[in-house]
């Protein structure tokens, strides 16, 4: 490589918050009291928490320095498979911080909350159009929360029909959250193997689907980045035994405007607004995991629901078969606004986003074939999965190569997932990355593959450019130190 993106520069050391400051400083513009002090019963009065006292600039420098130790999409390419780390438009942040939205109290009478209610109503409509599933709840706070909501709907649907089914089919390519969400609803997960092509076979599904099975949870496109091409036939099999088809829509970024999930037999699906619809991941949330369902499952959706009568929007509790409430209020509205802004900015171009995401992934797949082992050698959707098989002979692992990518200025891909591929390297470039950036990434991967062969010690030492080196994770788990 001529000159890599990754460089070192001046960063700062910064202690923990409570290692700085002086008693009596303040970073808060405290209003003077305009009322008389009122005594509090001694029995309840405490001493207050032991927080450090810092000046405003102390706080600003502290977090600015910390931020320098982080890598975000704003810093560089972040090809974390299954996470869709696309660009998070700045204008979305402007919209979410409008005072009328950010300062809105959730319990004001609905006639004083028409703006946000309309936004929610319209967003539901957009998501219904995109998925082809007509009824939508915006309440779930994240993807896993959406899965839980979906599983509760499956459970309620069967109870309503007078049957309590105990099992749920979950492919071996599923996200780890899928079995955990199903278990929370009392279902026993039954693992379904994907075939040698990396997808589900209808025959296998037919052999395990029975009348005690509530349905199937399919990630489509799946975690190998492949479209479950037999989804229609599988849906027919599951429906014939009275089951429901749940789709984990974490990978919807591949098929917007291409596949109508309602048409292919999907009954329930969740979306991750923090993946497909550009809302920031925030270092681990808040996300948003709306759930879309077919018309006859609408009565089971969480309450309250946004309704429209004439030109007025309202909130209705009047859904007696609803599974109930998933969070205190109506969902992560501050996140919904950003997704709504994105959809309004994109319109029909959403299809183009999917096309370019798939173009980028296939370009990487093609250019990296032969650099890394490609276990499923076929066209992919929005992400492609390689492995470290070719580097095994040099005792170099996926982890070593991932760490080395940091030195070249890239965030590593998702590693060791999906579990069906040993030493998996799961790359999702998203549509946000340009051809030049992809070419740089490819070049870095090639250099790393060469290093693996010729100078593996460099990889075992990696990364060397970030402020922190490899961490002792064993020590962290053996003697947990979780608070200072």
């Amino acid at each position: 490589m001529e000159e890599s993106l990754g460089a070192t520069g001046l960063v700062f050391n910064e202690p923990l918050l409570w290692e700085k400051g002086r008693k009596g400083r303040s970073g808060f513009s405290m209003p003077a009291s305009d009322v008389d002090p009122f005594p509090l019963d001694e029995k309840f009065a405490g001493e207050g928490p032991d927080f450090p006292d810092l000046s405003e600039l102390d706080v600003v420098r502290h977090f600015t320095r910390l931020s320098h130790w982080n890598f975000g999409v704003d810093s560089g390419m972040y090809p974390l498979g299954s996470c869709t780390m696309k660009y998070n438009p700045k204008t979305n942040e402007r919209q979410a911080s409008l005072r009328g939205i950010a300062a809105a109290h959730p319990l004001l009478p609905v006639h004083l909350s028409q703006g946000v209610l309309r936004m929610m109503f319209d967003l539901e409509h957009c998501l219904a159009e995109i998925t082809g599933l007509p009824a939508v709840t915006l309440q779930p706070a994240a993807g896993a929360h959406g899965e839980l909501t979906g599983m509760m709907i499956v459970r309620a649907f069967h109870r309503d029909a007078g049957s309590a089914r105990s099992k749920i089919l979950i492919p071996d390519t599923a996200h780890g959250t899928n079995p955990a969400s199903a278990a929370l609803c009392g279902f026993t997960p039954v693992s379904v193997k994907s075939d040698e092509q990396g997808v589900l076979s209808p025959e296998y599904v037919a052999s395990v689907m029975d009348e005690d099975t509530a349905g199937i949870m399919v990630t489509n496109p799946n975690t190998l980045g492949l479209f479950e091409e037999n989804i229609r036939e599988i849906a027919d099999i599951v429906h014939a035994k009275g089951g429901l088809v749940y789709v984990d829509g974490a990978n919807m970024n591949a098929v917007m405007g291409i596949v109508n999930m309602g048409d292919v037999g999907v009954d329930i699906m969740h979306l991750n607004l923090h993946k497909t619809f550009s809302t920031p991941h925030g270092g681990g949330g808040p996300g948003s995991g709306p759930v879309c369902v077919r018309e006859d499952l609408k009565p089971f959706l969480p309450v309250p629901r946004v309704v429209k009568e004439g030109d007025q929007y309202g909130l209705s509790q009047d859904f007696p078969r609803s599974i109930g409430k998933l969070q205190a209020f109506y969902g992560n509205v501050g996140v919904l606004v950003k997704a709504y802004s994105y959809i309004l900015s994109m319109g029909k171009e959403l299809k183009k986003a999917s096309q370019l995401a798939v173009l980028n992934a296939n370009y990487l797949r093609k250019k990296l074939t032969g650099v890394f082992h490609l276990p499923y050698d076929r066209p992919c959707m929005h992400e492609c999965v390689f492995s470290d098989k070719m580097q095994e002979q040099y005792k170099v692992t996926t982890l070593d190569m991932a760490k080395r990518l940091m030195d070249y200025g890239f965030h590593p891909p998702t590693i060791y997932f999906p579990l069906v591929v040993h030493g998996a390297i799961m790359i999702e470039p998203t549509e946000s990355e340009s051809k030049e950036t992809l070419d740089l990434f490819i070049e870095a991967c090639k250099t790393i593959a060469e290093e693996a062969e010729k100078d593996p010690a460099v990889l075992f030492e990696a990364p060397t450019k970030p402020k922190a080196r490899r961490m002792n994770e064993t020590e962290a788990a053996r003697k947990p130190c979780l608070a200072g």
């Binding site: 130790w69 706070a141 929370l184 402020k467």
Partner: protein, 448 residues
């Protein structure tokens, strides 16, 4: 579209490299009968400026302070948020990063979450706190599920003075798993009546909120002792207003096994109810049964202090269906906001701020009592309280809305036995002048 970097030439070159003719050909693996029959029907794309105008219009159709004088809390509180918090939060290195799976390039997020965990344990008086959950309601539901797992019991008791929405969420989570919930009634002074536990055995947990939904401070110490007469039962203390613990004894100091609740008050905008911050803390002995992500301190290869996600074997991506929870994304950015907020306010400041909230609410309470409203519950309060107005106040409430005053929340939907009872709140954002205006309105109506 400005979010796409691809020129037509780029697309041509890339397709050529892949060996395809068109973008459509990329989707050849999707069977014909799975393709959409028609194009997406969505509005035409808006320019940035058109979007601004559209969103400004929506935002204009909302009632917010300071134009409106809002005396309403009930789980969502109006507090001043330093500009520092808003601006630092917008640093792209924080908000465009994902869960810190790669610690070498995520130390900013990791150290900040470690600081969040620490400040949370100090605020709540507990040993360990997780990296956050969705909101107060789901944190309480997760706490009860944790107690059920720990004790292998199938029943929990929850005070009726826990926020009604939190109880609904608990109901949703627990009935899905087939567990039983016993509701505890309340006493004449506005505190939870633990005699509701008489004859109830084998409880995994007893959950009490303090300050409770009526704004009253619960006597957690004696309640904790009563709960622990059954050694196995966990005492769960919930909250919707964490600022109260700037002034009050912490849940940990009063015997809580788990303290959990909503952290929105700590620097997070109300945003029509979400995203919030699910705060969750417990005792050291329960740490391996705790749901949610955890950040721990360790050292790097050079022996320098650093932080990593740890104890992941509790979590879904390893344990799958036997995990302590299904949670994956939490509310990391909200946890970060609250850390910045707690850092700005500081130890001295949080006491002063909490006292200010308390004094303002007491001022409003006294003022309303002086003009003839009834204060039905006598237990001490923090920044919220219940008022009983004479029958017919509903109309006054509506009339005041037209004057841009929100005189609390009518709670009869949640407590049908308490008609004409309104929950009012005063924080540092409500001025004496505004409170006097409300008191005067109520007084002049009473005198007619």
């Amino acid at each position: 579209m400005r979010y796409f970097p691809h020129t037509d030439e780029d697309i041509r070159e890339m397709l050529q490299e892949i060996g395809l003719e068109s973008l459509d050909a990329l989707f050849a693996d999707i069977p014909k009968d799975c393709r959409r029959a028609r194009e997406l029907e969505l509005p035409s794309p808006l320019t940035e400026w058109e979007l601004n105008a559209h969103m400004d219009t929506l935002a204009a159709h909302m009632a917010v302070s300071p134009e409106y004088k809002i005396f309403l809390g009930a789980g969502s509180y109006n507090h001043f948020i330093p500009e520092v918090v808003r601006q630092l939060l917008l640093r792209g290195e924080f908000f465009t990063a994902y869960t810190p799976y790669q610690p070498e390039i995520s130390q900013g997020t990791l150290q900040a979450i470690y600081e969040y965990q620490t400040l949370t344990t100090r605020l709540l008086g507990m040993d360990v706190a997780n990296a956050s959950m969705y909101d107060g309601a789901s944190a309480l539901a997760e706490a009860l599920l944790m107690a059920i797992r720990l004790t292998k019991r199938k029943k929990v008791a929850v005070s009726r003075l826990v926020h009604p929405f939190y109880r609904q969420v608990v109901q949703t989570y627990l009935t899905a798993s087939g567990y039983e919930i016993v509701e505890l009634p309340f006493l004449e002074n506005g505190a939870t009546d633990l005699s509701g536990l008489d004859g109830v055995t084998e409880c995994a947990a007893v959950a009490i909120q303090s300050p409770n939904f009526f704004g009253c401070i619960e006597d957690l110490e004696s309640q904790g002792k009563a709960v622990h007469t059954d050694m196995k039962t966990l005492f769960v203390v919930a909250f919707s207003e964490p600022l109260a613990y700037g002034l009050l004894k912490s849940p940990g100091a009063r015997g809580a096994d788990i303290a959990c609740g909503e952290g929105q008050s700590l620097g997070i905008p109300q945003s029509f109810g979400g995203p919030g911050l699910g705060m969750f803390a417990t005792k050291q002995e329960f740490v391996r049964n705790m749901p949610g992500r955890l950040v721990g301190q360790t050292t790097d290869k050079n022996g320098r202090r650093g932080f990593v996600l740890t104890l992941a074997t509790r979590e879904q991506h390893i344990r799958r269906e036997r995990a302590t929870s299904n949670i994956c994304s939490n509310h990391g950015l909200c946890a970060l906001a609250s850390t910045m907020y707690m850092a700005c306010v500081g130890g001295t400041g949080i006491r002063e701020l909490a006292r200010l909230n308390h004094d303002k609410a007491e001022y409003l309470k006294k003022g309303l009592r002086d003009v003839g409203a009834t204060i039905p519950f006598e237990a001490p309060i923090f920044n919220e309280f219940l008022v009983r107005f004479p029958a017919g106040f509903k109309e006054v409430h509506s009339r005041l809305l037209k004057k841009k005053i929100v005189a609390g929340l009518d709670i009869c939907t949640f407590y049908p036995e308490l008609p004409d009872h309104y929950l009012l709140c005063a924080t540092e954002t409500n001025t004496r002048e505004d409170m006097d205006a409300l008191i005067e309105e109520v007084g002049s109506w009473k005198n007619h």
